[in-house]
């Protein structure tokens, strides 16, 4: 009986790994790191995790999870609630439709896919925020953040690969 309970708990923990890691990555992305002026250009770690899990475990990373992470991101980042939620759900759908193309080839292709998705999401976010606030927001920090995220991508990706292997290696 106890074994069954443990088995279910273990299975539940493994199945919730994509959502939990995306949540932790989102929080890690806003922590006050001791790097000067890092906050405004900190890579969107939540978006990296979202991209990774949508490609590798779409069965465990549903649109509702993308919506929740996006909404949380809006709340933490003092953005209009629903903005990142909207973009994260759209990004999830976009990646899901193209996942065979992005994941089926080399890591470079996965990287390229992320750059495409992130550029689209961040440009749309900037555009929508300009429209919502009806003022021109500077684009340079957005560009810098995208550039940093592009360079930084392999590191969180490597961590996620390790986690995925640890959790799902036995199927």
């Amino acid at each position: 009986m106890l074994d069954v309970v443990w088995q279910r708990l273990d299975s539940g923990a493994r199945r919730s790994l994509p959502f939990v890691t995306t949540l932790v990555f989102t929080l890690l992305g806003v922590v006050a790191w001791p790097l000067p002026h890092f906050g405004p250009v900190a890579p969107p770690l939540g978006l990296i995790a979202l991209y990774y899990w949508t490609i590798h475990r779409p069965d465990l990373f549903r649109p509702g999870m993308a919506f929740t992470i996006g909404l949380l991101s809006d709340i933490i980042n003092f953005l209009p609630p629903g903005l990142s939620a909207l973009l994260f759900v759209a990004a999830h759908q976009l990646v899901l439709r193209q996942r065979r193309f992005f994941a089926g080839h080399s890591f470079l292709m996965t990287w390229f896919g992320f750059v495409l998705m992130m550029s689209l999401v961040m440009t749309l976010e900037w555009l929508l925020l300009c429209l919502i606030r009806w003022q021109g927001l500077p684009f340079f920090p957005v560009f810098m953040q995208a550039l940093l995220a592009m360079v930084f991508f392999p590191l969180p990706c490597w961590l996620l690969i390790r986690l995925q292997r640890m959790a799902f290696s036995q199927g």
Partner: protein, 298 residues
């Protein structure tokens, strides 16, 4: 044509098709939900702000737990560096201490004189300042918003509109207060507007953030010519902040446009002091308390 009777089999099939339908259209459902939230946020901003503060309150301990090892590591490195330069630092501190004692005597004398003059003129004094110290746990906003989340809230006496400072100068104001956490909007944020005075010329202006590291001085008098590096302080107008809180030094952007370089290093803030200028006595200001105690003795 025979009519198929409704049975539990049909209910089962309907449930499956409903689930498939929901799954298929969940994308559209969540897109609509997000759009609905965006509209709701515009229509009912107060409700959204309240909910946001509650969520941040719940997340603050987690953010604190994540930020703590980072802070400990940073402090350990700083301590190690400090040990290396212990002797030189000590000499500097001894010299600084002697200078501070001279300043303290001068301040006490001036305070006494000031009080006597106030009494003579029947002058209405400004209430003292009280400080609430808080730790920064999150540097939020990404490329769009310049804000910090700090570990002090309503239970600590934080109120919306309070000034946020470091030891060097003003860094922003409290815009959102939860029970145990608050959000500080930095002076560099696009939505930050602060009435200021330029020391020396006495010109008044509005300090407006533009998401860059150097906020701009707007609505200066037409003939204003400012000296670069002149000190900029809060003017106290509009009742947003108390007067004379230091903010930064003037920098010339060319074409008659001026900005400021903040005194505080906004890219590296670990602790903030939230200033309550409506409280009397300045109970949390050790220097003010010491000066008052010495003045009483005399």
């Amino acid at each position: 044509m025979p009519v198929r009777p409704r049975s539990s089999g049909w209910v089962f099939v309907n449930a499956i098709s409903w689930r498939m339908l929901t799954h298929r259209f969940s994308f559209i459902l969540f897109i609509m939900l997000a759009c609905g939230l965006l509209i709701f946020g515009r229509v009912q901003p107060m409700l959204v702000e309240g909910a946001r503060a509650h969520v941040i309150d719940s997340l603050a301990p987690i953010l604190d737990a994540i930020a703590r090892p980072v802070t400990v590591t940073e402090n350990t490195i700083a301590n190690f560096k400090s040990y290396l330069s212990l002797r030189a630092e000590n000499e500097k501190l001894v010299a600084g201490n002697m200078q501070m004692k001279q300043w303290q005597n001068a301040v006490v004398a001036l305070q006494n004189e000031n009080r006597e003059l106030h009494t003579l003129l029947n002058f209405k004094t400004e209430p003292g300042l009280a400080y609430i110290s808080a730790r920064v746990v999150a540097d939020t906003g990404g490329p769009f918003v310049r804000s910090l989340i700090v570990t002090a809230g309503k239970v600590d006496g934080v109120r919306e509109g309070m000034a946020a400072m470091t030891g060097d100068g003003l860094i922003g104001r409290v815009v959102e207060v939860g029970d145990w956490s608050s959000r500080v909007l930095l002076i560099t944020d696009l939505n930050s507007r602060i009435p200021v005075t330029v020391a020396g010329s006495g010109d008044r202006a509005i300090l407006a953030g533009d998401n860059s590291a150097q906020p701009k001085l707007l609505y200066l008098p037409q003939d204003a010519v400012l000296t670069p590096a002149a000190r900029v302080t809060t003017s106290g107008h509009g009742g947003i902040f108390p007067p004379d809180l230091p903010i930064g030094a003037v920098t010339d952007n060319g074409h008659g446009s001026y900005g400021i370089v903040p005194l505080a290093d906004l890219g590296r803030i670990n602790y903030v002091r939230l200033v309550d200028f409506n409280l009397k006595g300045g109970a949390f200001n050790p220097l003010a308390a010491k000066i008052q105690a010495e003045a009483k003795k005399r």
